[in-house]
């Protein structure tokens, strides 16, 4: 009954390519969003494409050689980080795999001696990441549902406007946002955390992901609810929202990871030391905190800062890597 806007974003749409960089400044944080928003949905189960004849044993061996080599290249720095965190400073510059002596002194230092305390930074990071995730899920599904399923004048123009915001680099927004949040009184005390949440409260990527997902849900379900006399709100809340769980999960993972890892906005907007998030603390300790080249506690802090995302990755790798792409661009 209702029309899908004619102009469907395509994988080569620069607006979407921009979106890949929307969260958190550099490429580092947000490329997953690029996958989500911009890749064609995988068709069915992925099919291995055999380039030429792979039956040759040598070619297979060569492939494994590269695969294992590159995988090692990925893991070694992290493994070295963990090993170093159990070393003494003296031992940390030696090329030994087993710490001698094995000590948890660096961990004691990282857990107890930092100022602000690691627990405080964890708390700050969590508060911001959870709040940003929540606002993106709530506001994203509101807007996503409206753009996908409700008809109102100006809908397509407004949706294009939302997509166009992906073209705006965060750096251009840095100064205006700084001035605006200060003018709103968010520059002082714990409200500095709120200013980060405000900036990241809704991303076009969240709207886009959820909208695309809502478009794929069969209309019969919605119409059945409507027949039963449910209003738009009830239909949205009781029928559509529960069906959008995969897209909500994707948005949750993306936003949580992006915000937890985020460096740019905390760096710009946070001035009070006790409001530092983990990435900010990690950087500041090294640059100005006298933490300098005290490698073992620095490495222990790196492990602490990365652990929550690592746990998420182990449980939800699908969503990080390909589930996101699948829920991204259907419809």
């Amino acid at each position: 009954m209702r029309d899908v806007p004619e102009r469907e974003p395509t994988p080569t749409d620069p607006a979407l390519a921009q979106g890949a960089l929307d969260v958190g400044g550099g490429v580092a944080q947000a490329r997953a969003i690029g996958v989500a928003a911009a890749l064609p949905a995988p068709v069915g189960k992925q099919q291995a494409i055999v380039v030429g004849d792979t039956s040759h044993a040598w070619r297979r061996r060569l492939a494994y050689f590269f695969l294992i080599g590159y995988a090692l290249l990925m893991f070694v720095p992290f493994a070295w980080t963990v090993i170093t965190s159990f070393k003494t400073l003296e031992d940390s510059v030696r090329l030994t795999l087993i710490p001698q002596p094995f000590t948890t002194a660096a961990w004691d230092y990282a857990l107890n001696e930092l100022h602000p305390n690691v627990a405080q930074m964890f708390f700050n990071s969590f508060v911001v990441a959870i709040a940003v995730t929540l606002t993106n899920v709530v506001l994203g599904s509101f807007a996503g549902y409206a753009f996908a399923r409700l008809r109102f004048p100006g809908r397509n123009v407004l949706f294009l406007l939302v997509l166009a915001t992906l073209m705006i680099p965060d750096q251009l927004r840095m100064l205006p946002i700084y001035i605006i949040t200060n003018a709103l009184g968010l520059g002082k005390g714990p409200l500095q955390l709120a200013s980060i949440v405000l900036v990241l409260a809704i991303s076009a990527t969240s709207v886009f992901l959820l909208r695309q997902y809502f478009l794929t849900i069969p209309k019969d379900l919605e119409e059945a609810a409507r027949m039963d006399g449910a209003g738009h709100w009830t239909t949205f809340l009781r029928v559509m929202l529960p069906l959008a769980t995969p897209a909500i999960a994707a948005v949750t993972i993306l936003q949580f990871q992006g915000t937890w890892n985020g460096f740019f906005w905390p760096f710009v907007l946070i001035r009070d030391q006790n409001l530092w998030t983990l990435p900010l603390g990690l950087t500041e300790f090294r640059l100005v905190g006298g933490f300098g080249t005290n490698w073992p506690p620095l490495m222990a802090t790196v492990v602490l800062a990365t652990a929550p995302i690592l746990v998420l990755y182990m449980f939800f790798q699908r969503y990080f890597v390909e589930g996101i792409a699948a829920s991204g661009v259907k419809g």
Binding site: R59, A63, L161, F263, L287
Partner: protein, 319 residues
């Protein structure tokens, strides 16, 4: 359309009332998100453009209308120019390097091999960590007494490095000759897995019949890759290159984490965005900083358009 028609249903009214309610529901749902988008995004860029033509007082706002003076000053500022050079240097080397790595990994992972999921997960792994964590790890590894220098010593590679002019305890990220290259390599390391994921999706979009046809024509693996796969990946190349260029031009996190806000050593890590940050928050020249932001936006926008032109204009077979 009026409230009265809602109370006295006729054959036309229910539809109209339904439409109106639907529109109202739509507006209600998008109200808050749209407000945020309008103020924080659209509003921000208009505001930035406005600030950029003023001498701006940090407390009182606009002070003196300067027209395009801030822009002209930027073009004549040697540090701005070196920031542009550094940023372009980074982008021009980092993007193709990471694309090549990503494509290479994608092609290998896409073969019929065991442990495919494991390898894909492993290659993507560094992408999940924060830039702060990654930078810290690499600062440690590349320090004069770090893992990298130790390992090349053990492998007996030092003579080779001394030929290139590096001694056994080269401070890779602390020496202005090598700092930017160090950042390029660490970011290639972090992002290759992401570009692999992008390329994998593109690879899987190529129909299998194409390869069968190539096989029937007797094309070997090498020919098949360069004549069939590579050209057919054009949308993928476009997407990855665009993401890369936009990201590259915005290099900031690693520059700060490694060289602090001064772009140390010796301005070698001074990027456009870092310079913008300095102008705004160290020198408090808001108008000037806003002008740099607008220039950055225009560069990124132009790069995207040029790239689009190149990739759309070329015939697939010429690649």
């Amino acid at each position: 359309m009026t409230a009265a028609s809602a109370t006295r249903p006729s054959k036309v009214a229910p539809k109209r009332v339904g439409e109106r309610q639907e529109a109202l529901a739509g507006y209600a749902l998008i109200a808050v998100p749209m407000l945020l988008f309008l103020v924080l995004n659209i509003g921000s860029i208009l505001y930035a453009a406005f600030i950029s033509v003023w001498r701006w007082n940090v407390r009182t706002g606009p002070q003196k209308f300067l027209g395009l003076d801030n822009y002209v000053n930027a073009l004549n500022d040697p540090i701005f120019r070196s920031a542009v050079t550094n940023t372009i240097y980074y982008t021009v080397i980092w993007v193709p390097l990471t694309m090549a790595l990503g494509l290479f990994l994608a092609v290998i992972v896409n073969q019929k091999i065991r442990g495919k999921t494991f390898f894909r997960g492993a290659f993507y792994f560094p992408s999940i960590a924060s830039s702060a964590a990654i930078s810290t790890i690499w600062i440690f590894i590349l320090n004069p007494f770090g893992l990298f220098n130790e390992v090349r010593g053990v492998l007996g590679l030092n003579p080779l490095f001394s030929l290139l002019g590096y001694d056994a305890n080269q401070d890779w990220l602390g020496d202005y000759h090598t700092a930017m290259n160090g950042v390029i390599i660490l970011n290639a390391w972090t992002t290759s897995g992401t570009f692999m994921i992008f390329y994998l999706a593109s690879l899987q979009a190529i129909p299998h019949e194409v390869y069968e046809a190539a096989a029937i024509d007797g094309a070997g693996a090498w020919d098949t890759f360069w004549r069939v796969t590579f050209p057919l990946l054009r949308p993928g190349h476009f997407f990855v290159a665009t993401v890369g260029i936009i990201g590259g031009l915005q290099l900031f996190d690693q520059a700060v984490q490694i060289g602090n806000v001064d772009g140390a050593p010796a301005n070698s890590l001074m990027t456009l965005v870092l310079y913008l940050y300095n102008a705004a928050f160290k020198r408090l020249q808001y108008g000037y900083a806003a002008a740099i932001g607008v220039v950055l936006f225009l560069i990124i926008f132009t790069a995207t358009l040029i790239q689009r032109r190149i990739f759309e204009g070329r015939q697939p077979t010429t690649a």
